[in-house]
Symmetry: C2
């Protein structure tokens, strides 16, 4: 019978596994063409408004296949329930037998996104990080910061958020672990930081090309649709290296989609993350380069984190 | 936290709920346009050969949405594992919160199919049933027979199967509850029975128009692809009433698809099950009519049976 792993157990297992390494392996498998990921299934609801997405797939010749269900019901907050809900299912790839149900309530999606940010920093951030700039104050802003600690000991942080109240809360929550300064604008982040992570659902570019200093690395996490944009298209033109987690997805969403649509960069100059991590020549080669990694979220990340948690569970047993 | 209901509990709950009524309500909702059922998701596997299908949807303004995962790995028998595997997931339609995980191992799909057969008999079989004819000896043959008992007390059964060994087993297993006679051919079934259920994966028509007597009802369960066929196309032409569980599906698979392709019947004469059960004029109106219900399997059946089992579970608690 399938094992059910609840959120508390998942959080405990996550402490003992290397999710960044799992993401790296996943992106490599993806870019090498070893994953099978059909189009996402979607259910839309009207009363109240909500949506559910079903993502599924597998790595060829692997042990498992994975299905992820993730929903967003924005009226849930009125009921004191998280707007994001969901679970992960893991099945034996050779028999179809269900092996595990991870009742993660959307947490693993947050974690795999943060871990991809840390992976991006590992391969593209400059060696010497002066300060880390975080744009946005939500759960992803916090997790990106926490996972970046696995890459760098830099504790000098700049934060910018549109809502001052949320900025204050962010500082209260994380201020004891970090030396956090509040920026007046995204531009002030750009002036003080050479590792920047953008985590907002903004539809207006926040970071401008003219503000970014040489040697800066930016991981853009927020935009995953055709309308969202955190980086000015000109900034992608200014960058020496532009990386997409998924080149096919970058043709229809995210920062790269915007910059290509605006005629600022050519699709052909974009490199896929899983390809770049396998080839030193495609990674940062000097401290002066400006690098951008655009993360729109790839199903192989869900496959890898579900496998990693289940393997962690089996090890503990 | 979501409730996990295992197969043993599911079987126990099924004893106390009216699945045929649940199917009736589901088919009505479906034919009335009140269901949302996106295209089926599919994963195909090579080593070993297998497939997984993800069906999902909901009834509008209902309490839940449902996802079903069903896989077939035909090498499983070598490992002593059932080739069919799967589970059903039930979520709150208003918040997305997972409510229940039914580890049914494919059993609920078998049951909802058998219950649809009994529903078809309720509305289309002649009043006086001389004998029930079953074509095929698999799990669906047995379940159809068992569920028909909820409609008729007729215990005179004729069975035909291609494999004599399987026929013998079928009689051994069910012979104590029924008076079962073995037919030499599908034609002998047609001569002796006026309620016939076909349950094989045959790709060659088994029942011929010339053999079928007036007043016979046939439920065709086996064909659910474009290649499978149990009823000669001429037989659908001979029938007075031809019913599809899903008119859209009947355009690409099942007995009706074959008969229309062969130019024997027009699509326009086919009536949908959920429409017919709401309108006496569309049901059997005389003991002499020949009626055919072609079941290809509709996602609303999965939605309804999952809901019914969960509601049965809540009642027992």
């Amino acid at each position: 019978m399938a094992t059910v792993i609840n959120l508390e157990e998942i959080k405990s297992i996550l402490k003992n596994i290397d999710i960044i390494a799992a993401m790296e392996e996943g992106f490599i498998q993806y870019s090498n063409g070893n994953t099978v990921v059909p189009p996402v299934g979607e259910l839309l609801f009207e009363k109240p408004k909500g949506d559910a997405h079903i993502k599924y797939g597998y790595i060829k010749n692997d042990d498992y296949y994975v299905i992820k269900v993730a929903s967003g019901f924005y009226d849930n907050v009125k009921l004191g329930i998280a707007s994001s809900q969901g679970l992960m299912l893991l099945f034996d790839q050779k028999t179809g037998v269900p092996k595990a149900i991870l009742l993660d309530e959307g947490h693993l999606t947050d974690i795999r996104t943060a871990a991809a940010g840390a992976l991006a920093a590992r391969y593209f951030a400059p060696k010497k990080i002066k300060a880390i700039g975080i744009i946005g104050t939500g759960i992803q802003a916090k997790l990106q910061l926490q996972y970046l600690q696995k890459h760098t000991p830099c504790s000098s942080i700049w934060i910018w958020g549109r809502n001052k109240e949320n900025v204050k809360k962010f500082v209260q929550e994380l201020g004891t672990d970090f030396n956090i300064q509040i920026a007046e604008s995204p531009s002030e982040i750009a002036k003080n930081c050479n590792l920047i992570v953008t985590t907002t659902p903004s539809e207006i570019a926040l970071l401008k090309a003219e503000d970014i200093q040489v040697g800066t690395h930016i991981t853009a996490v927020g935009s995953d649709t055709e309308h969202k944009q955190e980086l000015e298209s000109e900034l992608l033109k200014k960058a020496d290296i532009v990386i997409a987690d998924s080149i096919p997805q970058s043709k229809s969403r995210g920062e790269i989609y915007k910059a290509v649509s605006d005629g600022k960069i050519s699709e052909n100059t974009v490199i896929e993350l899983g390809t770049a991590v396998q080839d030193l020549k495609l990674q940062r080669t000097s401290e002066d380069q400006i690098t951008i990694v655009d993360l729109t979220g790839v199903a192989v990340q869900d496959i890898m984190i579900t496998k990693a948690v289940y393997n962690g569970y089996l090890k503990n047993k």
